[in-house]
């Protein structure tokens, strides 16, 4: 039993230090895993310390709840495919936010609503942010899992409705801070925040998910931090804020990589088919050239330098292992193979890196946009696998294009470009890709996995 508050605080400090080190160790893949173990130790210290507090009871409930949660957590973590990692992260964001909101609700109830203003503020914020994160994450999960359409879901006056809902929730929060002691107030606050969470993620399309997931990550962190104020717990405040800072930073990075403001991502409902704007019309006589696997295999085998540009299409087709096998074959033939990773390729920050790491691609072969762009002019073949908007030269050249100004991978500067794509459907932004009309570009239509498998056998026999 721990009854000395200083001992308690010191043990929580140990946990805090472990969490900070866990993040620090993530600065290199070499010791990142050790960092996670250290974070695990910190969490165990925090949990054990709390359980040893004097006066803790309801042991049966605690153990049963923990057992159920552990089973669900372990099964989820072991079963999830690396391609489904964005959904998984969304889900974990959600449960964390939900827990924070429930803690606020329980605390409000325990105190019968009689709270000093700063306690009331923390309870209100924890309930508000936690609920938004919970509901928003579940919608993001549903979209990524394709339980609902990944396209933006919009209706007229959406932003007005959203502002009204959030305004209502904020008004309730202010009333609670001002001294409203009724329990319905916190319940209504949570319900409104849940509705808002759903409404604010619904209009956001799949390609904007990297921004949304990062933002929800930040929200859950902040909710945990607010819970720390409610319970006067330094470890919650610090750990929550570390997550809040990390999520905020990632959100900013992702928005920057798309050259869009966060407000534009959240309220712009990007990705509807935008009439007129930036439609590179094909009526100037240029046409798309399609080709077969055999031709591509020859081109690849005799290249000196090939840059692979993976995108969400590779993830959808689960083609990462086959891509790596193809790259290995080419390397055996003396071809220099590199991978170019756009920061927003896929559905979450770093999505492509994880997939390729899963396929055992050494991380020294993965290059960020700024590193690889100067190399495209010396590249014989740029092999674009299921990536689209991040390669569209219109982002550089066409001020009318919705993606104008977005930093892209300069694949059009390679000597030749092969685009593997399911069909000529436009990419997520709903705009045509001028790259496909380039005289140096040939298209290999079909599912990414099947196409890569065909390429592998063609390269083997050539």
């Amino acid at each position: 039993m721990i009854s000395d508050p200083d001992v308690l605080s010191l043990l929580y400090l140990v946990a805090i230090v472990c969490f900070i080190l866990a993040l620090r160790f993530l600065s290199s893949p070499k010791h990142a895993r050790r960092g996670n173990w250290l974070g695990g130790v910190g969490m165990l210290v925090a949990i054990a310390t709390t359980l040893l507090l004097e006066g803790i009871s309801n042991w049966v409930l605690i153990v049963v709840a923990a057992a159920i949660g552990s089973v669900v957590g372990v099964i989820g973590a072991r079963r999830v495919k690396m391609t489904a990692m964005p959904q998984m992260v969304a889900l974990f964001n959600g449960v964390g936010g939900g827990a924070a909101a429930l803690i606020a609700l329980a605390e409000f109830h325990e105190l019968d609503g009689v709270l000093v203003w700063d306690e009331a503020l923390s309870v209100a914020l924890s309930a508000l942010i936690g609920s938004i994160s919970f509901a928003g994450s579940l919608v993001a999960f549903a979209k990524l899992q394709e339980l609902v359409s990944g396209r933006p879901i919009v209706f007229p006056g959406q932003n007005v409705v959203n502002v009204l809902i959030l305004g209502g929730a904020a008004a309730l929060a202010i009333a609670i801070v001002a001294g409203l002691e009724e329990q319905w107030a916190i319940v209504a606050l949570i319900l409104l925040a849940l509705v808002f969470g759903v409404m604010f993620v619904l209009p956001i399309g799949g390609a904007d998910m990297p921004v949304v997931i990062s933002l929800l990550n930040a929200f859950t962190g902040l909710a945990a931090s607010a819970t720390g104020f409610v319970l006067d717990s330094t470890v919650l405040i610090v750990a929550g804020m570390l997550v809040g800072a990390s999520g905020t930073l990632l959100t900013l990075l992702m928005a920057k990589a798309m050259n869009r403001s966060i407000a534009n991502v959240l309220f712009g409902a990007f990705g509807q088919v935008q009439a007129g704007a930036g439609q590179a019309r094909a009526d100037d006589g240029r046409t798309v050239r399609a080709t077969g696997a055999d031709d591509v295999a020859v081109q690849l085998s005799f290249a000196r330098k090939v840059v692979v540009v993976p995108g969400y299409g590779m993830a959808v087709a689960q083609a990462q292992h086959d891509v790596r096998q193809l790259a290995d074959l080419l390397e055996e033939r003396g071809v220099d193979v590199k991978y170019a990773i756009h920061p927003v390729a896929g559905r979450m920050p770093g999505h492509m890196n994880v997939l390729l790491a899963e396929a055992n691609v050494p991380y020294t072969q993965l290059f960020e946009m700024d590193e690889i762009n100067p190399e495209f002019p010396q590249t014989d073949v740029a092999l674009v696998i299921g990536a689209n908007d991040v390669t569209n030269p219109a982002a550089r050249s066409d001020p009318a294009s919705p993606i104008y100004g977005m930093p892209i991978l300069d694949v059009d500067k390679a000597a030749s470009i092969i685009v593997m794509k399911r069909s000529m459907n436009p990419g997520f932004a709903g705009i045509d890709n001028e790259l496909y009309l380039d005289g140096k570009t040939t298209m290999l239509f079909g599912d990414a996995k099947e196409s890569v498998l065909k390429l592998i056998s063609a390269v083997k026999s050539s």
Partner: protein
Amino acid sequence: MSQLTFVLELTILVLAAFLGFEVVSKVPTMLHTPLMSGTNFIHGIVIVGAILILGFADDTFTKAVGFVAMMLATANVVGGWFVTDRMLEMFKRRPEPKKDNPD
């Protein structure tokens, strides 16, 4: 809670924010997905709050709410940690000479 502790807590919060930005900005883009799932795991610290609520609950409502919170928070902690570990294990493989990596 006295005003002083509130201000102290706010001080800790702000310092943690700056520290967080500082530490996280050193994480390479390559590791951004593990960073997300790792921070996912860290916000599982709400489990401390869930234990405090459930452990000191004496009416049915608080017990019920605390129970659900405890379940969610445990799933968050356990799942977040295992997923991150699984991912980082893949990154750990050193490049070394290429072709001796059969699988």
